[in-house]
Amino acid sequence: MNVHEYQAKVLFREYGVAVPEGDLATTADEARDVAERLGSEVTVVKAQVHAGGRGKGGGIKLARSPEEARQHAEEILGMILVTKQTGTEGKRVRKVYVEGGCKIARELYLAITLDRESEQFAVIASTAGGMDIEEVAAATPEKIHNVLVDPVAGLSSWQSRALGFKLDLDGNQVKRFDVFLSGLYRLFVEKDASLIEINPLVVTEAGDLLALDGKLNFDDNALYRHPEIAALRDPEEEDVLERTAAEMDFSYVGLNGNIGCMVNGAGLAMATLDMISQAGGSPANFLDVGGDADKTRIENAFKLILRDGEVRAMLVNIFGGIVRGDLIAEGVVAAIGSVGPSVPLVVRLQGTNAEQGRRILAESALDIQSAETLQDAADKVVAAATQGS
């Protein structure tokens, strides 16, 4: 789960991670009031959306007076912000964060994540702050420093100090860096973050360290023990269908094609998308209905898939393992009866009692094309989608 920059900064403060003074505004007048209250020479008005690259897209602007902050907020609020992370459709800005400016001496990069390779936590730092870290890694890998942290032992001060010196910080700054990083690490561990990224981490002319930006992702699997983090979810930032799917306890990812897919199991669902693409079609979604694909779940999955107006044909691909194929077929027939899908339907049942299942589908008098193999199913649904569009 992602949160906004302003939410990340509240958590940073809680953990003693230094950030500039600032506050949230949802109207231009509020933005002016915040700027006035901050009383700093320069303020920064920042669009709050779940996407990076906001500055280049025109979502971050500098103001030299509260009135100018108001004007910027008026332009930014309600705009459709397009950045390289939002896709061409962009994201509507509903909130801005107004923050005091600071005199920047250096820009650094700092992140903590779980490194899958080593299965340890990784602290990643760079002297090339303010830039895309993947570009830095490709062009100047020597500017990136990694520290692996044993998840049982935790982060030691010596590791922070060693990293601070690699970032060319002086003795006093290294002490501050140790406090900064240990706070950040505690936040990462205690709240089950999956990624914390600060880009840039600035060294001010006065030698202070400040998190100028903050990206914070949390492990969805751990949200059950952090209700305060789960409450930070902003439904406006999520795809409507993906949100509805999550509420129905489905794994769903919207794609750009026109063939709706309902599959049990994530691996088989991915393979089904591969199969459709190889047969010349284009899938509209990834959807895992899960192991217990009963009537209600199949019904819900049909409704969800059909909410995507682009869908021209549908493939139901169920491998009946423990759940018998005949029971699944009954569920499919009942669900079709109650939902009445308006597009051609191909159903492929395989596994335990698959033949009985196929017979139930054939005898149902519903307009279903039955398929036995993956290849057959993909060919039939691609043909149906082509005819239907």
């Binding site: 691996g267 990834f286 423990i322 596994g351």
Partner: protein, 287 residues
């Protein structure tokens, strides 16, 4: 022969809730020796004829169990793995989906050196055909033989096993290693077991997007494997940055794409089926 489990395996079930009981019964009917269940507070009782113990240690002392299957919910599953390891079990298979990644990173570090092999979490389990069923796989689609099957997914494993059985290829052992970012045993660990198992003559490996386990497997195969390996990688058309159902199935920071994995495997001499429909046919073409 087989890997991980056979007729002699004495299995415990940690977590005798609805799912645990359901699958324990199917495993018993398949011939698996389920010698006990662990359910704190219900020790001394019986569930479906299986004696229940309060702790894994008590269960091991009373039954001589050497393996365990874990159906404990996500909040307690990592703890259940540690308990299994502490009791000296040889094998734990964790079916639970949804364990926080940091819990697994800590758990894996803590059980390192204990001698216990962990399969999963978020996996369908292990089946040695007609001998032992651990987990939730539909064992009826398997058939005894000499092909080892290892996969990161559940139903896609069934798909591959089904294809193999239909083409007449029996299996030595079939297992899913799990779809999470941190899992107990990786492809490399399992490939090493199959290479050492005299009953296994070829291996089918089913990977997917995310992480670099397939690339590491490719290195291992090139350097250490004499037996032929056939592979399929799911998610060839998955968009970057999106989690495809499994917690670990995500292309992020330009890493974990299917194309890179396929290239690495082919460079290691692995026959990679582009289509999920041709996994068994790809093996047949090698014979």
């Amino acid at each position: 022969m087989s890997i991980l489990c056979d007729k002699s395996t004495k299995l415990l079930v940690q977590g005798m809730g609805r799912t645990g009981r359901f699958h324990a019964k199917i495993s018993i009917d398949y011939g698996t020796q389920i010698v006990g269940g662990v359910h704190p507070g219900k020790g001394g009782t019986e569930i479906d004829g299986v004696p229940i113990f309060n702790t894994v240690e008590q269960a091991v002392t009373a039954t001589g169990a050497d393996a365990s299957v874990i159906f404990v919910p996500p909040s307690g599953a990592a703890d259940a793995i540690l308990e299994a390891s502490h009791a000296g079990l040889r094998l734990a298979v964790c079916i639970t989906e949804g364990i926080p990644a940091a819990d697994m990173a800590r758990t894996k570090a803590l059980i390192a050196g204990s001698g216990m092999v962990l399969i999963g979490p978020n996996c369908p389990g292990v089946v040695t055909p007609e001998q032992c069923r651990i987990g939730i796989m539909p064992a009826a689609i398997t058939k005894p033989g000499s092909v080892g099957v290892v996969s990161r997914s559940g139903t896609l494993t069934y798909e591959a096993v089904d294809q193999l059985t239909r083409l007449g290829f029996g299996q030595s052992t079939c297992l899913g290693i799990g779809g999470d970012s941190v899992i107990g045993s990786t492809f490399v660990d399992v490939l090493a077991l199959f290479e050492a198992d005299p009953a296994t003559e070829a291996v089918v490996m089913i990977g997917e997007i995310g992480g670099s386990a397939e690339e590491k497997a490719a290195e291992f195969i090139k350097a250490n494997m004499s037996k032929p390996v056939v592979a399929f990688i799911a998610g060839q058309n998955a968009p970057p940055g999106k989690r495809m159902g499994h917690a670990g199935a995500i292309i992020s920071g330009g890493k974990g794409a299917a194309a890179d994995k396929i290239e690495a495997l082919e460079a290691a001499g692995v026959a990679v089926s582009r289509s999920p429909a041709n996994i068994a046919a790809t093996l047949a073409a090698l014979q």
